[in-house]
């Protein structure tokens, strides 16, 4: 490319950026249609009073450079195009958008039982623009929506809470939701194993037949060599010269409801079960089944008031388990003694993610307050902030894109008017994919 000057390079880079934006889907089809778009608007620069990155120290009076919806750099004294969109957030605290790992926000109630590994939330998801307004206003930028019901009701779907309606899906299908029904899970896994055996048996049958057919052909070929060629009938080729067109092995279909369990047993990457526990005994029972088949799994536990989950903290901590809890101070069962279960799990070695206490707007809005209460009662600030950002991202397997402010991750931020653990803190704005999708009005 000799002789191409700076201007040509600039154009190429601009085109690359455009192409990147097109591919990421955060910009609409207008781009691909070739309509000219202003390259300056694709750079967004946030000048922030404080940036809580979740990796290392906070950045004070720093800059976040975003392009194409992705973080290009974070730091102080960074370079950016003069006419990039600059967002003045010098009186704001910027942290990664919150992630709700388990919700039915915006979805209707229904009951369901049995094994439905083939069903996903996508089938009941018809997003309106403001479907997750409540979450968005509370600072949430991503939510894992789950199917309702008991047993193995289906698979979750992870979406953004705002931004362009067509580009909200982050991952679908996502984890398999499993409630604490030991016998159902055991039966379902047994059935899945049978399906695997069915396929294996069919495969062996097929290979055996193929082997036999091949041997037959060989035998006939040998016989044909030692004989005079017979008078050929019309249209009939001699058997030996007929090229055998071998049909490919068509495995018998696996029962769709159990397909995901087959994937779990075969340790397919990216597939895991989220197992919901009611009490400590549920852990023992479910773990018995999960360990037997070595199923990839994480746990969710509802630890309200007098939960007895402290009994299994040591085991889970030793496994460094990822677990979703509720941000509540509890009590030792049958006692008035307070028990900071979230802190106990965290200090035992678990990676704790938090989900709102109840699946409703008032609880979403309460989340920062609850974090503050838990930290006041002795939890580490760092673990608290990560429990709603980085840890859920890791649990969901989306930590390459979400959960912290570092290069290469999505530009999903929440802008606060104070420290996140300050009791008076408010969400002032939310950015998703580099675009401000929510701004608080006045007294909001």
């Amino acid at each position: 490319m000799a002789g191409v000057g700076h201007r040509a390079w600039a154009r190429v880079i601009a085109v690359v950026a455009v192409a990147g934006l097109c591919a990421s889907g955060s910009v609409g089809p207008r781009c691909l249609a070739g309509e000219p778009a202003d390259e300056d608007e694709r750079f967004v620069v946030i000048r922030a009073g404080r940036v809580i990155t979740n990796v290392g120290d906070e950045v004070r009076n720093g800059v976040i450079v975003v392009s194409g919806g992705t973080i290009r750099s974070v730091g102080k004294g960074l370079e950016y195009p003069l006419s990039a969109t600059v967002i003045d957030a010098r009186d704001r605290v910027v942290m990664p958008g919150l992630i709700n790992p388990h919700s039915r926000n915006g979805l209707p109630r229904y009951g369901r039982g049995g094994v439905h590994g083939d069903l996903t939330v996508a089938e009941e998801y018809f997003p309106l623009a403001d479907a997750h307004e409540d979450l968005l206003k509370a600072g949430y930028t991503a939510v894992a929506l789950v199917p309702a019901g008991q047993g193995i009701p289906g698979r979750a779907m992870i979406v953004r809470t705002g931004g362009d309606e067509d580009g909200r899906t982050l991952q679908s299908p996502a984890y398999l939701r499993v409630t604490a029904d030991k016998r159902l899970l055991r039966g379902a896994l047994a059935r899945a194993k049978k399906e695997i055996e069915k396929v294996e048996t069919a495969r062996k049958e097929f290979e055996k037949k193929r082997e036999e057919t091949r041997k037959e052909r060989e035998k006939k070929a040998k016989e044909a060599k030692g004989k005079k060629p017979e008078k050929e009938k019309e249209g009939e080729k001699p058997a030996a010269t007929q090229p055998a067109k071998e049909p490919a092995f068509k495995p018998p279909p696996i029962d769709p409801a159990h397909k995901v369990l087959v994937d779990l047993i075969q340790k397919k990457p990216g597939v895991f079960a989220l197992v919901e526990l009611g009490n400590a005994s549920d852990y023992e029972h479910m773990q018995e089944v999960l360990a037997k088949h070595e199923i990839a799994h994480h746990f969710l536990a509802r630890n309200h008031r007098q939960s007895d989950l402290e009994y299994v903290v040591e085991k889970l901590g030793r496994d460094e388990a990822k677990i979703i809890l509720q941000p509540e101070m509890g009590r030792v069962p049958y006692s008035a003694e307070r028990l900071h279960l979230v802190r106990v799990f965290s200090e035992a070695g678990c990676e704790v993610s938090l989900m709102p206490v109840g699946d409703r707007a008032s609880e979403y809005a309460q989340m920062f307050g609850r974090l503050a209460e838990l930290v006041r009662a002795g939890w580490s600030r760092e673990a608290a902030l990560k429990s709603v950002t980085l840890h859920p991202a890791r649990l969901l397997g989306l930590d390459k894109r979400l959960g912290s402010i570092e290069q290469g991750k999505d530009a999903d931020f929440v802008f606060l008017d104070g420290d996140p653990l300050d009791p008076t803190v408010r969400v002032q704005a939310v950015m998703i994919g580099g675009q401000i999708v929510h701004e608080a009005e006045g007294d909001e």
């Binding site: 030792v332 069962p333 049958y334 006692s335 008035a336 003694e337």
Partner: protein, 412 residues
């Protein structure tokens, strides 16, 4: 026949008793241990107890007590002799569930359990097999005030013999049952109404006092409903109050111990009421604990022994009850054993079901300890009476053997 023999042919009770009355001049018990439960806390090993004319004639080491001629000698091996067990909170001397309460009004002054005493009924007979000789028969707690209680001797063969004190006590139930009478009262109404009743009774008593003291000349009207209350206000008859839970027992202390200043027996004293130990120990009130012997304290995840709680908070006038038939009358010693499992001291527990209970219901002058001159109400056991492995083999009331479990099959 001594009850407790399951179906073995035997002489009728009266015949044996008559024989006994006729023959011996007295009885001599030879036992391995006497736990007298007197105020000196006398314990004698290898002892002899002499009984004559229904009274205890002598108690002492075998070497010091000589048995007069003509006395029936009853020799027991490694057995213990203790006072006849005294129960302060009993409903089973009436012999049936239907005689528990009369729930006519929220308070029912004028009623009296002496009318329903059934000597030698099935429940009293089984009580003999547990060494129980005296019980306070009180009405149930279905209303705030269900009438007067009666002190009953389990050895009585007829009402005259059976009824020891009448009125034996005034039965009050502060709360914790009477609520259900009207299908839902609160303590606001109940405390007010109970107080009203006591005030009316006190008023009657004052009028008669004034007349008897010469302050007025006109004789007040006689009212049989309020007349029995006079003994209560004169301090001759205790008020036995069914009361438990902190706030309710506090109301009892307030009303009966402080305001009306009566001789008060706190019955039950269960749940978390033991926390009032510092208050109760400053008063003359008796705490008779049961039938629940422990409280599951759900603020501290602990099983608190009630008697242990009272004792550790300084209450010494502490007894145990069965609330028979809620728990069987014959198992009063076992109730005491359970109080000890939960932390109390066995010696004090035995005192609680003899000495203390007797004092609480005002019969200590006659029963509740093995002392020279007192009524010969004793029980003889194969070992520690609190130990469920020990059996009561002999129960004696007024010097008469009412239960003999030495031969044949024992009911208990």
């Amino acid at each position: 026949m001594a009850y407790g023999h399951v179906g073995l042919a035997d002489e009728p009770a009266d015949a044996r008793a008559a024989k006994q009355d006729a023959e011996a001049a007295g009885m001599a018990f030879h036992v391995a241990k006497v736990v007298a439960m007197d105020d000196a806390d006398t314990v004698i090993n290898d002892a002899v107890v002499l009984v004559r004319d229904g009274r205890i004639e002598a108690v002492g080491p075998a070497d010091d007590v000589s048995v007069p001629d003509g006395y029936e000698e009853l020799a027991f091996g490694e057995h213990w002799l203790v006072p006849g067990i005294v129960e302060a909170h009993n409903h089973s001397a009436a012999g049936s569930w239907s005689d528990l309460n009369d729930m006519v009004y929220q308070t029912n002054p004028g009623l009296d359990t002496r009318a329903v005493v059934r000597p030698e009924n099935e429940w009293i007979k089984t009580a003999w097999t547990g060494g129980v000789t005296t019980v306070m028969l009180i009405p149930g707690s279905g209303t705030n005030l269900a009438g007067m209680g009666t002190v009953v001797s389990t050895g009585g063969r007829n009402p005259d013999e059976a009824i020891v004190n009448s009125p034996g006590s005034l039965k009050v139930a502060q709360a914790g049952n009477p609520e259900w009478y009207f299908g839902g009262n609160t303590r606001r109404f109940m405390n007010w109404n109970t107080r009203q009743t006591m005030e009316k009774a006190l008023d009657y008593h004052r009028q008669w006092e004034a007349y008897e003291g010469g302050e007025v000349t006109e004789e007040p009207a006689y009212d049989p409903i309020w007349e029995p209350f006079r003994g209560v206000f004169r301090g001759e008859v205790p008020v036995t109050v069914h009361t438990q839970i902190y706030q309710i027992l506090l109301a009892t202390m307030d009303m009966f111990v402080d305001e009306f200043a009566l001789w008060t027996v706190l019955d039950h004293c269960t749940f978390d009421a033991w926390k009032l130990g510092p208050v109760v120990r400053e008063s003359d009130a008796y705490a008779v604990n049961g039938p629940r012997q422990y409280h599951f304290d759900r603020t501290a995840r602990r099983m608190i022994g009630n008697a242990d709680g009272w004792w550790k908070n300084g209450v010494r006038r502490l007894g145990i009850n069965t609330d028979a038939p809620v728990t069987p009358q014959k198992e009063l010693t076992y109730q005491a054993a359970m109080a000890c499992w939960y932390g109390w001291v066995p010696h004090e527990a035995l005192r609680g079901i003899t000495n203390i209970n007797a004092k609480s219901i005002g019969v200590y002058d006659d029963v509740g300890s093995v002392e020279v001159g007192k009524q010969a109400d004793v029980s003889i056991w194969t070992g520690d009476p609190l130990d469920p492995r020990s059996a009561c083999v002999l129960t004696v009331v007024k010097g008469r053997i009412i239960y003999d479990g030495r031969s044949g099959l024992r009911r208990f």
